[in-house]
């Protein structure tokens, strides 16, 4: 079997300026900090980051933002990281952040569609709001829905609690968040995990993310802390 276990720096070695990366987590709970830290060290720029939110300063994707690595952020909520507003409104072109806001349920479902081969889906969320701008409205059984399209990325940063050497992963508590959908929706999937175990140690009934999605496993992810 192919050895998927690498160091964090090896795991992010192939990531170039301008890459699109999905990052799991919700307010940094469920974000693989060990991979974020490696990406900060690598210091690639002009990234497009797809994440539920902007983390907080010093946590999660907030670190990438502080380091000026994000060009475009696709997220549902950015209000708890004041750096977002600063960077959105800056006059320094190189620091300027483009922020694309997507309703949280729509964001999760678009990523799921990207990983499951769907061409899109119809959601009632956002009908009649500015979220509907430029989108096709389709009426089914008398109700209007927006046609929302799939999202994929070149890379996904996944945070696991327990991962076997094939990549099968479980998530403890509220760390699950966007991780399972993102693991299926990216070309290269890197799991930063708290514990690496042998194949067969996770009950096949309880695996959440299949190892078939996982390209690289990095151990040493720390327990989350506020």
């Amino acid at each position: 079997m192919i050895n998927k276990v690498k160091t964090a720096d090896e795991a992010v070695a192939g990531i170039s300026d301008g890459a699109t990366i999905m990052v799991g987590g919700f307010m940094a709970c469920g974000t693989p900090e060990i991979l974020i830290d490696a990406l900060v060290r690598k210091n690639v720029k002009n990234l497009t980051i797809i994440c539920n939110d902007a983390g907080v300063p010093g946590r999660g994707v907030g670190k990438l933002l502080s380091n000026g690595q994000i060009k475009t952020l696709i997220a549902s909520h950015v209000g708890l990281n004041p750096e977002v507003a600063t960077r959105m409104n800056t006059d320094v072109a190189a620091d300027k952040l483009e922020c694309i806001l997507v309703p949280q349920g729509t964001l999760a479902e678009r990523i799921r569609a990207g990983g499951t081969g769907l061409g899109g889906f119809l959601t009632p969320t956002g009908v009649g709001t500015i979220v509907a701008e430029g989108k096709q409205v389709i009426n089914v059984s008398g109700r209007d829905y927006l046609l929302e399209l799939p999202l994929r990325a070149e890379y996904a940063f996944i945070r696991g609690s327990v991962t076997d050497k094939f990549g099968n992963t479980t998530y403890n508590g509220t760390t699950r968040t966007f991780n399972p959908m993102m693991a299926a929706a990216a070309d290269h999937v890197i799991v930063g995990t708290c514990e690496i175990v042998e194949m067969g140690e996770i009950d096949p009934n309880n695996v959440v993310t299949s190892g078939i999605f996982v390209d690289t496993i990095v151990g040493g992810e720390k327990q989350w802390q506020i």
Binding site: M27, V56, A108, V127, G128, I130, R176
Partner: protein
């Protein structure tokens, strides 16, 4: 007069039935859980991936992998479940949440809601609010009646919508209002206020229920 937020939260709590699945917004709505009548147990859904959320975690005894949608450590009740964000919003959008309680910047007489953006000023993002108000069976807005004297209940929202035609009920420190096809109906009046006070604090026509009751 009691604390305004407590007045609102305690009245909202009376809208909830035993066994209801409820999503509480951050801030005032979170307080609703403290005022549930005896015999009413609700199941709290947290959109970051919990069904059966419990009280805030005791300092020093936190499970660091378990937080609420405001990123605070919480506990879960026996019979709880964790899930991913697609599942969470499948539950929400699928009509499996009985009630969502959240604040508003503006609500209008058509039940339109604006609570996520002030163009050019505050752009925090909608988070899960757009899905919650579209998907929940009952949408209750819990807020102060005015913002420093400025109307928040209007003929038409001036801010960008969170969703159109979704608000069922508005509960403020002045009273309880239901959104009907005819407009906003005042069904309960807080004893500290007169009908004229509420009318003055409201930016659209206020229909007074023929069966107006004291708010309690």
């Amino acid at each position: 007069m009691a604390d305004i937020k407590e007045i609102i939260a305690s009245r909202v709590a009376k809208e909830l039935k035993d066994g209801d699945v409820v999503n509480l917004g951050i801030g005032l709505p979170t307080m609703v859980a403290n005022f549930l009548p005896e015999g009413v147990d609700i199941i709290l859904q947290s959109e970051n991936g919990i069904m059966g959320m419990g009280a805030a975690a005791v300092a020093g005894a936190e499970d660091v992998d378990v937080v609420n949608a405001g990123a605070q450590y919480v506990t879960v009740n026996p019979g709880a479940m964790f899930f991913d964000s697609a599942t969470s919003f499948g539950i929400i959008r699928g009509g499996h949440v009985d009630a969502t309680i959240l604040g508003a910047l503006e609500v209008d007489q058509h039940g339109n809601l604006a609570n996520w953006i002030v163009p050019g000023k505050m752009v925090p993002g909608m988070g899960g609010a757009m899905d919650l108000v579209v998907g929940a069976k009952k949408v209750i807005i819990a807020m102060q009646h005015t913002q420093k004297g400025k109307h928040k209940i209007l003929k038409e929202c001036t801010l960008p919508y969170t969703a159109v035609g979704v608000v069922d009920m508005i509960i403020t420190e002045m009273g309880v209002m239901e959104v009907t096809p005819e407009g906003i109906v005042l069904t309960e009046l807080h004893p500290d206020f007169k009908v004229e006070d509420v009318k003055e604090a409201t930016g659209c026509e206020l229909i007074i229920s023929p069966d107006l009751k004291p708010m309690a």
